[in-house]
């Protein structure tokens, strides 16, 4: 999957042209080509699979609406990822706000790949770190990513999961190069510390 992800050729010129003229079949090809990648971006940023699926739908619908305005100044994949990442960031903030408001609720869920799971009753509720330890490696890694605040999370996801360049990340998230660099460094540092705690050792 990683290999495939890295080696998708990004030559979408003809497809995009056709889709712009209203060719829905061409647009469907675009959807099939990028939906996996966009879902990952959305999932890694939001941390919740269902929300990620909704974000991806919204992203492709928005892309289709805005196709006539896409002038090919960037690669189509970069443009599409920008739409997805920004929608995912918005959704993340909604989720965090909702969780903050529900912080006192007994049913505070821990987001995982398979969906939300229920917390145990307050008296026996484990600490966040203990929660992470109980999960498998992948879940731990995602959990550590989930510890990152918005703004830092997207940079890390786009760099270390989707392998965009510093410049592309700056264009997608509308950040200066220096900001991308410093945020990435701090995000990696935080995940490193989190994983050390979760695994005991890296």
């Amino acid at each position: 999957m990683n290999d495939i992800r890295r080696h998708i050729p990004d030559d979408d010129g003809e497809l995009v042209l056709a889709a712009r003229t209203g060719d829905l079949a061409a647009f469907e090809l675009i959807v099939r080509k990028y939906q996996g990648r966009m879902l990952n971006v959305a999932f890694r940023i939001t941390g919740v699979y269902e929300d990620a699926c909704e974000v991806v739908q919204d992203a492709f619908v928005a892309a289709h609406r805005g196709l006539k305005d896409f002038r090919g100044e960037s690669r189509f994949s970069t443009w599409l990822t920008a739409i997805t990442a920004n929608l995912a960031r918005n959704r993340l903030e909604q989720l965090l706000t909702r969780r903050k408001n529900e912080a006192l609720s007994l049913d505070d869920p821990l987001p995982t790949e398979d969906g939300d799971i229920m917390r145990e009753p307050p008296s026996t509720r484990p600490t966040p770190l203990e929660e992470v330890e109980r999960l498998n490696v992948q879940e731990k890694v995602q959990g550590c990513i989930g510890e990152l605040p918005p703004g830092f999370r997207e940079v890390l996801v786009l760099r270390d999961l989707e392998e965009f360049s510093y410049g592309e990340i700056g264009a997608i998230l509308k950040l200066r190069d220096g900001t991308v660099k410093s945020r990435l460094a701090r995000a990696r540092e935080a995940v490193k510390d989190c994983l050390k705690r979760a695994f005991g050792a890296l």
């Binding site: 999957m1 990683n2 992800r5 209203g22 829905l24 647009f27 469907e28 959807v31 099939r32 939906q35 996996g36 990648r37 879902l39 990952n40 999932f43 890694r44 699979y49 990620a52 699926c53 991806v56 739908q57 492709f60 619908v61 289709h64 609406r65 790949e113 490696v137 992948q138 890694v141 995602q142 990513i145 890390l156 760099r159 270390d160 999961l161 392998e163 510093y166 660099k181 410093s182 990435l184 460094a185 990696r188 540092e189 995940v191 490193k192 994983l195 050390k196 890296l202």
Partner: protein
């Protein structure tokens, strides 16, 4: 380079995103510092874990759902456009027509309303004939008439002379109007002659009926005058060039007249002059008549009533003009002094 500082740059160093100079510094430090080397290794492992995260698979229905929404939007849009623009196509012409209609209506309304506003302040009773006369919509005629200020019927018969009056005189009034048609008096012979002729047997008696007849005649005449305006204007021009005083004099037909029967016209004339001066008025014209004299007097409208009141003390007033009801301006009156026989 300090440890703390170095560790901040390790991430960029990993991505080969440092400057060449920085890279050298870092590598130089790393070669001497095992702790920082450990840090670098930890960082590499972290990034490795991240990169090895497997991608999640999209649900099988995702493409179909996306395309369904895309199709929905693609179909919804045209009708949205139509909803906006087809009505517009109908709305705009409608609005244009309505606007034109309103403008035209407004224009005609304005034209109709305008004449009601008096353009000048003509003397009040000048328009005795105005009452029976029709109200033509031209501003000039209106201004010459407080025809809108109707003279109480029967209008003083003095207007009868209009019969004599050449049409052009009447037409002259509009342009010359302002305070009053300047030389207002008709030829002295013509003016007294007519009333004399008509009322000769009993000059004192100016019966109302003949007056009304005269007024009617006058009305008819004014109508014909109105409709014969263009011809009249030509005649007026001719008349004007030939005999300005005479032409002007016929304006006298329009003025209120007072006839004073006195014992001695000459004495009364002197008294009249004094009265006029006292009232702040002026004598515009004086003419000899068979039985006395006729003076055209201009009095301020505010003083007019008092003037007439005092006039009555000078002799017996055979005829009085209608009450002055103009708000401002001057009134021109013809005072005829008649020696009683």
């Amino acid at each position: 380079m300090e440890h703390a500082e170095l560790r901040k740059k390790l991430s960029a160093y990993l991505d080969k995103a440092t400057t060449a100079a920085e890279r050298l510094e870092i590598e130089e430090h790393l070669s001497r510092c095992p702790d920082c080397r450990d840090e670098l290794v930890d960082l590499e492992k972290t990034v490795g874990h991240l990169r090895q995260l497997p991608g999640v698979e999209p649900p099988v229905w995702l493409t179909a759902k996306i395309m369904a929404r895309v199709r929905e939007e693609a179909e919804a849009k045209p009708s949205l456009w139509q909803r906006l623009f087809v009505p517009l196509r109908v709305k705009l012409p409608l609005e244009a027509v309505a606007l034109i209609f309103l403008c035209v209506t407004g224009y005609y309304l304005a034209r109709t309303m305008a004449p009601e506003v008096p353009v000048t302040a003509p003397p009040a009773a000048v328009e005795e004939k105005g009452a029976p006369r029709p109200q033509p919509p031209s501003p000039s005629v209106e201004s010459r008439g407080e025809g809108s200020k109707p003279v109480q019927p029967p209008p003083p018969p003095g207007q009868a002379l209009s019969r004599q009056a050449p049409v052009q005189e009447r037409e002259e009034s509009p342009p010359a109007f302002a305070p009053a048609p300047p030389p207002v008096m008709e030829s002295p012979r013509a003016l007294p002659a007519a009333p004399r002729a008509e009322g000769a047997p009993a000059p004192a008696v100016r019966p109302a009926l003949p007056a009304q007849d005269r007024a009617t005649v006058q009305a008819e005449k004014s109508e014909s005058e109105y409709f014969g305006a263009s011809a009249a204007k030509k005649a007026k021009k001719a008349a004007r060039s030939e005999e300005p005083p005479a032409a002007a004099g016929v304006g006298a037909n329009l003025l209120p007249r007072v006839v004073l029967r006195v014992a001695d016209a000459a004495v009364t004339e002197g008294e009249l002059r004094q009265l006029v001066t006292a009232q702040g008025g002026s004598i515009l014209r004086r003419e000899e008549t068979v039985s006395g004299s006729q003076l055209t007097v201009r009095i301020g409208v505010g003083r007019a009533n008092e003037f007439f009141a005092r006039l009555e003390k000078l002799g017996s007033v055979v005829r009085k003009p209608a009450a002055v009801d103009r708000a401002a301006g001057d009134v021109d009156v013809i005072v005829e002094i008649e020696t009683a026989r």
